[in-house]
């Protein structure tokens, strides 16, 4: 047996976990992933590194995160992109200069106002109002006061990541120039309003559409793409611009709906056949129940609820909550940035 060869030492170290079991204090997998990708602050990253040096199960999780970063475009680039073309001394000098200038500016401000400095958990975080609580929103994630349960925190971080990193393409409401879901026919146009491009909590969702001038009545048709666009619901003719499904739809299924207006000259459909479909998904019961509990637990906490809705795919409710969060924090660019994925016309709607 030799230990002179580091590769043998490494193999022996890695083999140590063959029968190991997870411990009570093992960090959440998301945090290991974030540590490997330098997405955690240094102190938290070091805490996880220390844990992995004594926990073979988490050491294994660390190596899996390393292996998977090769296939993840975002992860593949970060090792090389961070210092690309910039010497380390230049980075250090820039950081030092920033510290000096920033420190002087902070001292200047403090001397001018003489206000007490309120410490925040993260110097770079923006402290924002979220109902009766506060959140610290920064480039890496959300810290909440009071702290959230681990599962909710995981969902929130996941949603935040999706909001920021995913090239989200959310359907626009009808009436927005360039909106994709406007019906056409004989020069007349009207559009569907909701549900479009979202998951819904109720298995009897309310369908809403814009009125069409001269329409004598409307009928709603709901079909299921996975079943060869079999029609599953049809409304009676109504003069209203809303309709509730008379019977519940199956949970966990995705549907497409269309409204047909009867006019003096014929029929006008929205969305038109050559336009993107108006799709929605009915949430699984378990997920809908979890959201109902979250509404009670986090009443008034707009950011928390908005991100939980987003994680569940309930896009329209997520947007409402996040808009309210932005309204509560009107001067915060961090808050406003959360709404960016919801803006602009629909570009992708399978």
């Amino acid at each position: 047996v030799t230990h002179e060869d580091p590769s043998r030492l490494a193999r022996a170290f890695r083999d140590a976990g063959v029968d190991a079991r997870p411990r009570e204090d093992c960090p959440d997998p998301d945090r290991i992933w974030a540590a490997v990708r330098l997405e955690l602050p240094l102190d938290e990253r070091l805490a996880i590194i220390d844990h992995t040096s004594t926990c073979p199960v988490c050491a294994e999780a660390w190596r899996i995160a390393m292996a998977l970063r090769q296939g993840d475009a975002g992860g593949r680039a970060w090792w090389t992109r961070r210092h690309a073309g910039v010497p380390e001394w230049a980075l250090a000098a820039a950081a030092a200069l920033l510290l000096v200038v920033g420190g002087a500016f902070a001292l200047h401000l403090w001397q001018r106002t003489n206000d007490p400095v309120i410490p925040t958990p993260r110097a770079t975080a923006a402290a924002l109002k979220d109902g009766k609580g506060r959140v610290f929103l920064n480039a890496k994630g959300v810290e909440s006061l009071p702290a959230l349960p681990q599962e909710d925190r995981r969902r929130i971080e996941s949603a935040l990541l999706a909001l920021r990193l995913a090239a989200s393409r959310i359907s626009t409401e009808p009436g927005v120039p360039g909106g994709a879901l406007m019906g056409t026919g004989g020069g007349e146009r009207f559009g569907v309003v909701a549900p479009v491009g979202t998951a819904v909590e109720s298995d009897r969702p309310t369908f809403r559409w814009q009125p069409l001038k001269g329409a004598r009545g409307y009928r709603v048709f709901v079909s299921e793409p996975a079943a060869g666009y079999r029609e599953v619901r049809e409304s009676p003719e109504t003069q209203a611009t809303t309709w509730n499904a008379s019977e519940p739809l199956a949970r966990g299924h995705t549907y497409v709906w269309q409204v047909v207006a009867r006019t003096r000259t014929g029929e006008v459909k929205a969305p038109a056949p050559d336009e993107p479909e108006a799709r929605f998904n009915v949430l699984e019961q378990e997920r809908a129940d979890a959201l109902a509990q979250a509404r009670e637990r986090y009443a008034g906490r707009r950011l928390v609820l908005g991100l939980l809705y987003y994680d569940a795919g309930v896009i329209d409710r997520a947007r409402e909550e996040l808009e309210a969060f932005v309204a509560d924090n009107p001067t915060s660019p961090e808050a406003r940035s959360l709404l960016e994925p919801f803006q602009g016309p629909a570009r992708r709607l399978p």
């Binding site: 029968d19 997870p22 998301d30 070091l46 899996i64 998977l68 998951a199 799709r279 896009i315 570009r347």
Partner: protein, 182 residues
């Protein structure tokens, strides 16, 4: 009649998502095979299926209205994969001390016992190294380069190299004292 652009982009989106999930499936399977012990590698197909199915569920739950980035998809799959591995490790019947030398795959019992003793010695020696060196050595043994270790520990590359070399020397000295020598 030209095809409507929206239909084309929808087809593109589906193709992109299919490609991404397929790549994810291959990468997860490869990661499990390369990293996990044999008894988990045997379940690599199951683990891969579970990890990718959860991601697909999430994609479907958005009714095709959100295009997920590779970063998000990989992170979600990773989280599911590690949860599943932990679950299986908890459920696995851990052999009692005398079973540790039971051979698997025709291995020599004495050699297995020796291997275990070496692993325990390495863990013990690593725990005795001072903290800053231990972190660097641990990351090195995990397979990180010096540049990566420097990034992870937020220090200069040269310092990371020193920490690794000195830490490895400490581990070697400790192992030698335990009778594990070339």
């Amino acid at each position: 009649v030209a095809k409507a652009p929206s239909v084309e982009s929808a087809a593109d989106a589906r193709a992109d998502a299919d490609d991404l999930v397929e790549r994810l499936r291959e990468d997860v399977a490869r990661a499990v095979r390369n990293v996990c012990p044999d008894w988990l590698v045997d379940a690599a197909d199951d683990l891969t299926q579970i990890a990718t199915a959860r991601v697909l569920d999430r994609i479907r739950a958005t009714a095709g209205t959100v295009t997920f980035s590779a970063g998000y998809v990989y992170r979600a799959a990773y989280s599911v994969l590690i949860d599943e591995i932990r679950k299986r490790r908890r459920l696995r019947e851990v052999p009692i001390a005398s079973d540790l030398v039971v051979p698997s795959g025709g291995a020599d019992p004495e050699r297995q016992a020796t291997g275990r003793a070496i692993r325990e010695a390495i863990a013990d020696c690593l725990s005795r190294v001072i903290l800053s060196r231990r972190r660097a050595v641990m990351l090195y043994l995990q397979g990180h380069s010096f540049a990566e270790i420097a990034d992870l520990l937020s220090c200069a590359k040269k310092k990371a190299e020193n920490l690794v070399y000195r830490g490895l020397a400490d581990v070697r000295a400790c192992l030698t004292a335990k009778g594990i020598a070339p």
